[in-house]
């Protein structure tokens, strides 16, 4: 297997729920090992228990989703401590350290992947300490528990502190996967728990990648050719170097780096350098990209699903319905722009940055430097938002490209304009769905054809067989019985680089499937909620839909110009529905209220589940109302938050979250709320205006 395959597979594992879940049952937890010298600690792959506390090496990365707190809660539960007594460290990028668990964070996989292994690791440590106490007392272990740093015997009340047991516990044979605590005994899991990293964040103490400072460090900025596929031409190098404080100019094939004493001076140097660019032979344009998507829709596509007999459904149908939906390129626009600090020396390379894939970033940097990965140290930092942008390593590779050509540590900071012009964008897509309907208006056949850029094709290379399993997610499995069901995918690339974006393939699918099902409901003259319920017998989906109806006041009269829309999905181990209330005045759409209902299995931390609902819905609404990257003359037309709008506080709805009580294994929460927002809003706009908007961002001016 080549390095490229490794890369593809590791990312595919990041994003494929089934692969991830499969792995978690087989993960070796590592033998509980004595600390090398003093036996003063008990350690395994994830945990170190010492006399003074518990340290958790975070196998996933924190970018706002509260994974640091959630995973600390799992450990705290099994070890009988409070979550804020768990010290969490963010480890260096290392593909082997947690293998086969990837350090990659994406696809709403972290909790699903870590729920059992982390609890088991902590339960192993607990059992080792309990066994040590039992041996010392001549007691039976099953009457003992570990509570607040003490092993306590029920009945007698005898107790021993952890510090007195570490040596014996680490010297004894490791317990083999003792039972986890039972759900009825949970003291931490399932309890609303405040984040353990808030205070650093509200005092400005948290060090994000962009905040790293090293002795002797310089600060650089970069300007990549604004036209995709173009190259760097002439540069006024002497003018740039004459700018006081500018240290060095470094040219690349399609990039200019300006190094200075600080960021502002680097920007001044860039202005003085006035770089010229060589255009690619055929610069991309929006109309051409759209024309190619439409052309791709005429191709047969590669079959992702075939169930039942569509031809028979066509013969038997009483009526039919067909609709085409368009979704644009989207930028991530995380609050922290691109940033990465590197120090390349004769001994190797040290890197500081925030990454959703720290071990991949290390390997990609090593490859760019022609070094073995062992020579590269990747210090992972907290991220000022990820949303999929930092599943890519281009920021790191660019920093290394500069770092290898200078003799000092250098922090590379992207301007917002650069971040917008050289994101790796959520693909633009066209989807067409056709349904054959029976006399009552229910589907008896359903054909969904998807065209757009394939992220997996880029990652898989020759292993790509025509169907993008990420893009078709949420189209292949839908919440409804629709009779014969066929899904195809046709890849259509442009010069615009594409990558993962919050909600991944399910985001695209949810807009299309949930808009179309709404169209069918109205065509059948039925209430959209009742129509959905009539098409599914899945108890989780039904419960979530019914609860969404109750909590939102579905059916109650709204003021003139208001409308409610609903959308539901089942993906990433979670069922999620939202009811969005839209208000339309003079063709202007606003969103006063959103009701979210989620069955995410066991909600480990209801507070952070609600935070994901609020944040995901707002992220999804930003895209639904404003999000669009367009291309002209080979370049991205948007440059900053004035022309790539995102929701502001005065535009944000009130959001209520209702969590269905469940003891099933936890599902993912990063993507679902984002994915259901746009279709629910489009359906609400239809309810308010009678206008069906099939293109994002939603606009009544163009309708």
């Amino acid at each position: 297997m080549s390095a490229g395959d490794d890369l593809s597979l590791s990312r595919r594992n990041v994003l494929s729920g089934s692969a991830v879940l499969g792995l978690s049952f087989f993960v070796p937890l590592g033998r509980l090992a004595a600390a090398p010298s003093s036996a003063a600690s008990l350690a395994n792959t994830f945990l170190t228990v010492t006399a003074t506390g518990v340290e958790l090496a975070l196998p996933k990365t924190e970018m706002g989703q509260s994974i640091l707190t959630t995973l600390a809660m799992l450990v705290a539960e099994e070890l009988g401590v409070a979550p804020d007594q768990v010290k969490v460290v963010i480890p260096k990028g290392d593909a082997k350290r947690f293998a086969p668990i990837s350090q990659g964070t994406g696809g709403s996989s972290s909790v699903r992947q870590m729920y059992k292994p982390l609890r088991q690791a902590a339960a192993n440590a607990r059992a080792a300490l309990i066994n040590a106490a039992a041996a010392q007392w001549g007691a039976t272990p099953d009457r003992l528990d570990l509570i607040n740093g003490m092993v306590v015997e029920g009945g007698s009340g005898r107790r021993l502190p952890v510090r007195a047991l570490l040596a014996a516990a680490s010297a004894a044979p490791a317990p083999v996967d003792p039972p986890l605590r039972k759900a009825r005994d949970f003291k931490v899991i399932g309890k609303p728990t405040k984040r353990i990293d808030s205070w650093e964040k509200v005092t400005g103490a948290t060090v994000f990648g962009i905040d790293v400072r090293l002795p002797g460090m310089k600060v650089a900025t970069l300007i990549q050719c604004p036209m995709f596929g173009g190259t760097l031409g002439e540069v006024d190098e002497s003018a740039a170097l004459a700018t006081p404080g500018v240290v060095q100019i470094v040219r690349g094939r399609d990039v200019l780096f300006v190094v200075a004493d600080n960021y502002f001076t680097a920007l001044q140097g860039y202005i003085a350098a006035n770089p010229r660019w060589e255009a690619p032979s055929t610069p991309a344009t929006q109309s051409q990209i759209l024309a190619e998507l439409r052309q791709a829709l005429t191709k047969p596509g590669f079959e992702a699903k075939k169930q039942g007999d569509l031809a028979a459904a066509r013969r038997a149908m009483a009526s039919e319905h067909r609709a085409t939906y368009h979704q644009p390129f989207l930028a991530h626009a995380a609050m922290e722009p691109g940033s990465c600090t590197v120090h390349v020396t004769a001994a190797g390379c040290e890197i500081w940055s925030g990454s959703q894939v720290p071990s991949q970033a290390r390997e990609d940097a090593a490859k760019a430097l022609g070094l073995p990965a062992e020579k590269v140290t990747f210090h992972n930092c907290q991220m000022g938002g990820g949303f999929g942008r930092r599943l890519e390593t281009d920021m790191v590779v660019r920093a290394v490209e500069l770092g290898r050509q200078v003799s000092y540590p250098v922090k590379l900071v992207w301007s917002r304009e650069e971040d917008m012009a050289h994101d790796m964008y959520r693909p633009a897509y066209l989807d067409e769905i056709w349904a054959a309907l029976d006399a009552s208006g229910k589907p008896v056949g359903w054909e969904h054809r998807i065209v757009g850029s394939s992220i997996l094709a880029r990652l898989l290379g020759n292993a790509f067989k025509g169907v993008d399993g990420d893009a078709t997610e949420g189209a292949v499995q839908i919440p409804y019985g629709v009779g014969a069901h066929r899904v195809t995918f046709q890849q259509a690339e442009s010069a615009v680089p594409t990558s993962w974006w919050r909600g991944v393939g399910g985001l695209r699918s949810a807009f299309v499937v949930e808009s179309f099902i709404d169209e069918l409901a109205h065509k059948a003259g039925q209430d959209p909620l009742a129509y959905r319920l009539s098409l599914t017998s899945n108890p989780r989906i039904r419960a979530v839909l019914e609860r969404a109806g109750q909590e939102s006041g579905w059916g109650a009269k709204l003021p003139e110009g208001h409308g409610r829309g609903i959308a539901v999905l089942e993906l990433w181990g979670t069922v999620m529905a939202v009811v969005v209330e839209a208000r339309v005045v003079n063709d202007e759409i606003t969103v006063p209220k959103v009701t979210g209902v989620v069955d995410c299995g066991l909600a480990i931390n209801p507070l952070s589940v609600a935070a994901q609902v609020e944040g995901g819905v707002i992220f999804g609404l930003s895209a639904a109302l404003f999000g669009e990257v367009t291309i002209n003359d080979g370049r991205v037309e948007q440059s900053n938050f004035h022309d790539y709008r995102v929701l502001r506080l005065n535009e944000a709805p009130t959001i209520s979250t209702h969590i269905i009580s469940s003891v099933e294994d936890p599902g993912g929460m990063g993507e679902p709320p984002c994915a259901v927002a746009a279709p629910a809003l489009a359906n609400a706009v239809f309810a308010a205006t009678g206008k069906r908007l099939r293109s994002l961002p939603l606009s009544l001016q163009e309708a």
């Binding site: 808030s198 995380a334 609020e614």
Partner: protein, 165 residues
């Protein structure tokens, strides 16, 4: 180096090279003084991540040259906790569990401090007016609204206590 630009930041007098006079305060803070709490988000006054207080007013430090702050007290997120109102806001932010990635939150809290200094009991409209210059991509707005109200209530309670005692 000519040290003839003097700023007062978080109560301390800071002497700077005169050549930094035209540099936006954000980069003086971050790259020269090592105060990285104020964040770079847009460089254009669009996102508020760089917010600092000059006196009781919020300024976008990415847009404002250092010389504009001469003779005025500047407070950054690192110094805001020394002010009872700032501390109340930080405590309310933790209490309401506002933060997600946390990158924009120093700017949000500085904006909230300016809002409550001007209007200790803001209604929803005043909160929207005071807080809509700051972007948050994680979507913490509903909890920001709640935290501002909580800090305002806590301020009113501590005022009442101060008066009665």
């Amino acid at each position: 180096m000519a040290l003839n630009l003097t700023l007062t930041i978080n109560g301390r007098s800071v002497a700077l090279d005169a050549r930094t006079a035209d540099m936006p305060l954000l980069w003086v803070l971050r790259d020269i003084l090592g105060l990285t709490g104020a964040k770079f988000g847009c460089g254009a006054g669009l996102c508020g991540a760089c917010s600092v207080l000059m006196g009781d007013e919020r300024f976008f430090s990415c847009m404002s040259p250092a010389r504009a702050f001469v003779g005025q007290p500047v407070t950054t997120i690192e110094g805001l906790g020394n002010d009872p109102l700032g501390k109340r806001l930080q405590t309310a932010w933790v209490e309401v569990d506002v933060v997600q990635c946390g990158y924009c939150q120093p700017g949000q809290i500085v904006a909230a401090a300016a809002l409550l200094k001007a209007n200790p009991t803001p209604d929803d409209t005043a909160i929207e007016a005071g807080m809509s210059g700051n972007l948050c991509r994680c979507g913490t707005y509903p909890r920001i609204r709640e935290a501002v109200k909580l800090a305002a209530r806590a301020g009113a309670a501590s005022d009442a206590k101060g008066k009665s005692g």
